[in-house]
Each structure stands twice: as structure tokens, then as C-alpha cells.
């Protein structure tokens, strides 16, 4: 049974329709053969054939609580039932609660928060904030590290030092970014390659 009532989504169909109609990120599209995943629990995720995989990297280093944490899921469910969306110029309990929780764990000098929906958006906001803050000083230059990754959008990919930046240059990106060698250049065991 698929997620949509009355339809059947077997592994073959999910894979074929996904490849025909959706982009696979950071790759040539032709050879892409996505694993079809069904569910996850604890430190495992399961494909559509029921095979279990130990998640040794928390997916993209993001599933830190493991999968299926019921307290987080229930909190999302309760919020969605009460108020699934409201514009950001209004506020809600959860926004204040989060602000207080963040204040309790972040370095103490950081006192104001902007919320995006992905890491790249967080870095884009940082760049805009910096450029606004510095607007009267004339400071434009931003220094980032080679072999870094800061995200895929225009400012973030300009900041990114690793090879994913090359495809984006010079056609889209931002001005004023220079890169510096990362501190461990001489200590890494593999001969470093600056993209």
C-alpha cells in the first residue's frame, strides 16, 4: 500500500517514477539508482524489501537522536494539529520555548535567532547580515577555507571551498569571497588537492 489511498507503490514503481520526475542531488542523473527506503527505527533504516541497515553516519550526519524518537514526533504532531503554519511576523508558544532552549545551550553572547529551513539558508542569512551590518564600513571581503562545505545556494556555494564549488563558478555566486588553506594541510595523510 502506498501513502496515497487506493494506489500501490511497489519498489519498481517508486524507483522508476522518482528517476523520471525528480532530480537526484549532486550527481549525473542517468546512472542514479536510488535505494527505496520504507521506514526507520532507532539506529536502523529498512528498505522496501525489509532489509535493515545500521545507520553508521546518522544519514547525512543529521539524525542524531536516531529514527522514530516518539517525543519529537508527538511534539510535531501536536503542533500540526493545533497550528500547522502561521506567518513569521506573528508568534507562537513554540517559538518562545525554542528561543529559551537555544539560549540555554548556545554560547552566551549569541542572543538573537533567525530560522531557515536548511544549513545553506542559515549561511545565506549570515552573509546578508554581515553585509548589512558592514554596509557603512565598506568591508566586503569574506574569507572561507578550502576543503569546506557551506551549502549549495549562491552565497554558500561561493563560500564552499571544496570541489562542489567549481561547477558553480563563475556563472553564479557572490562577490568578495577568498579562500584560505585549512589548518591541517600538512598533517593529513592524503596529498591534499586544492580544487
Amino acid at each position: 500500500m502506498g501513502a496515497i489511498q487506493g494506489s500501490t507503490y511497489d519498489r519498481e514503481r517508486v524507483s522508476r517514477v522518482t528517476k523520471e520526475h525528480t532530480y537526484g542531488t549532486w550527481r549525473k542523473q542517468g546512472p542514479w539508482n536510488p535505494l527505496v527506503v520504507e521506514r526507520a527505527e532507532g539506529v536502523y533504516f529498512y528498505d522496501k524489501d525489509g532489509k535493515a541497515y545500521l545507520d553508521f553516519s546518522s544519514q547525512l550526519m543529521c539524525s542524531n537522536l536516531g529514527h522514530s524518537n516518539s517525543n519529537v514526533i508527538e511534539a510535531m504532531h501536536r503542533q500540526a494539529e493545533k497550528l500547522a503554519y502561521i506567518q513569521p511576523s506573528y508568534t507562537i508558544d513554540a517559538r518562545a520555548e525554542l528561543a529559551e532552549e537555544l539560549s540555554s545551550v548556545l554560547p552566551g553572547n549569541l542572543d538573537r535567532f533567525f530560522f531557515g529551513t536548511s544549513g545553506t539558508e542559515a549561511n545565506e542569512a549570515a552573509v546578508k547580515i554581515i553585509r548589512m551590518y558592514n554596509s557603512s564600513s565598506g568591508k566586503v571581503k569574506i574569507i572561507s577555507m578550502y576543503n569546506s562545505y557551506h551549502g549549495s545556494t549562491a552565497a554558500s556555494i561561493s563560500l564552499t571551498g571544496d570541489f562542489r564549488r567549481i561547477q558553480a563558478e563563475p556563472d553564479f555566486g557572490i562577490n568578495g569571497v577568498v579562500h584560505a588553506p585549512p589548518p591541517l594541510l600538512l598533517q593529513v595523510p592524503v596529498r591534499p588537492e586544492i580544487p
Binding site: V43, S57, Q79, P107
Partner: protein, 220 residues
């Protein structure tokens, strides 16, 4: 990093720390944030990923009070329709409370030591393992074709062109054995959920131990 903070302060330059991945969120590196290891106060900190354990897309840009104050009477020219999305707010609040409730910082430090020990064994056993490094439950295993010359198996051009990487071949073997690990051009990122047990760490390391023989066989 302390030196960078000193230099940026001396020159009145804003320092931004991107903790999208390293944001400890209960201990990935053994502290809430990587900067805490060196007691650094960045001017701006960005994070995402584990802030909701990825159950909902959310990111954070946090600013130092000097910057926050500037916008009291200067126009903040930024925003998104999904900014401060209610479900994201709820997910992150619940996630932070879970990280605290489950005491994952302590746990990650302990488990991190265990993981580090097990990965060092891989370095000893496999000529293709050039480096093993970690902080908390956040480790890298880097493979080399030759430990002396530091010649890699692959370059980033191989990756962009879609040529099979040694790391991908090893990860593929591990997938057959039911273990997923994130791969890059020359290294693996081992960063299991902070709730992982020693037995589960052992299972992951065992699969990697077997699969690394592929790389060993092509060492010069």
C-alpha cells in the same frame, strides 16, 4: 581557532562558525557546539541538521548581541515564508529537550572513546587506512593507496565524472552486510546516532573491517 578569534577581534572582523554538522546537539563532538571545546564566542553561529534530528527542515543563524542591537533601528532585509515554521519550532524544542533528557553529551563522550579505540584497530590492521581521527561520536577513516607518499585512491575529478571511487566500493560491500556509512572522495564519516550501543558500534566496525580488504588489495 583561538588564534583566528584573536586575529578577527584585533581587526574588527566578524567571525562566523558554521556548525551545521558539528553542532553537537547533545554531544556529537562531546559538547553542545564545537566552539565550546575551545571556549570561543563567535559573532555568528549557523547550524541545522541535528537541531531537529532532521525530523523537520530547520536551520539557525544566531548573532552576537552587538549585531542583534544594530538591527534595532536598521532594516533587517531578510526573511522567508517558512521562517520560524511552527512545526519546526516544536520539533527543535522537543529535540533539544530529548538531548538533555537522554544526557547524550556524556554518552557521546563515552561512546566516542569506545568508537575511537575500535577505529584505531582498523588503522593497525589495514595498510589502506591512512588516518583515523575523531572527536566525540564524529570520526573519519581516511584511506590511502600508499601511506608514505600519501597517494590517494581517487581525486575529486573521479567523483564529479561519476567514476567508481574506492570509498564507494567499500561502502557498497558494507551495504550488502546491512551497514550504511557516508563516503567522500578519500574518507568515510562515521557519526552514528548518539543513542548507539557498543554492540551496534562493533557491528558497524566489523562490516568496515571486512570491506577494507578491498582497498588493502590495491595498496601500492
Amino acid at each position: 581557532m583561538e588564534r583566528v578569534r584573536e586575529i578577527t577581534e584585533e581587526n574588527d572582523v566578524i567571525m562566523v562558525t558554521d556548525e551545521v554538522m558539528s553542532g553537537g546537539w547533545g554531544g556529537r563532538t562531546g559538547e553542545w557546539f564545537a566552539v565550546d571545546h575551545w571556549n570561543i564566542k563567535p559573532d555568528i553561529l549557523t547550524t541545522a541538521k541535528g537541531i531537529t534530528s532532521a525530523y523537520f527542515p530547520l536551520s539557525l543563524t544566531a548573532t552576537d548581541r552587538r549585531i542583534s542591537e544594530y538591527f534595532e533601528d536598521h532594516y533587517f532585509a531578510h526573511g522567508h515564508t517558512y521562517e520560524a515554521h511552527p512545526v519546526g519550532m516544536a520539533a527543535a524544542t522537543a529535540a533539544i529537550r530529548e538531548y538533555k533528557r537522554l544526557n547524550l553529551i556524556e554518552r557521546a563522550r563515552e561512546m566516542g572513546k569506545y568508537l575511537s579505540g575500535r577505529l584505531e584497530e582498523l588503522r593497525e590492521r589495514h595498510p589502506s587506512v591512512g588516518d583515523v581521527r575523531s572527536i566525540g561520536l564524529f570520526a573519519a577513516v581516511e584511506i590511502v593507496r600508499n601511506r608514505e607518499t600519501r597517494e590517494p585512491f581517487n581525486t575529486y575529478r573521479d567523483k564529479v565524472e561519476g567514476r567508481p571511487l574506492m570509498t564507494d566500493r567499500i561502502a557498497s560491500e558494507m551495504m550488502k552486510k546491512g551497514v550504511y556509512v557516508n563516503t567522500w572522495v578519500s574518507h568515510f564519516v562515521i557519526a552514528p546516532p548518539l543513542i548507539i550501543t557498543k554492540e551496534e558500534i562493533d557491528a558497524g566496525v566489523s562490516a568496515m573491517d571486512d570491506a577494507l580488504r578491498l582497498a588493502d588489495s590495491e595498496v601500492k
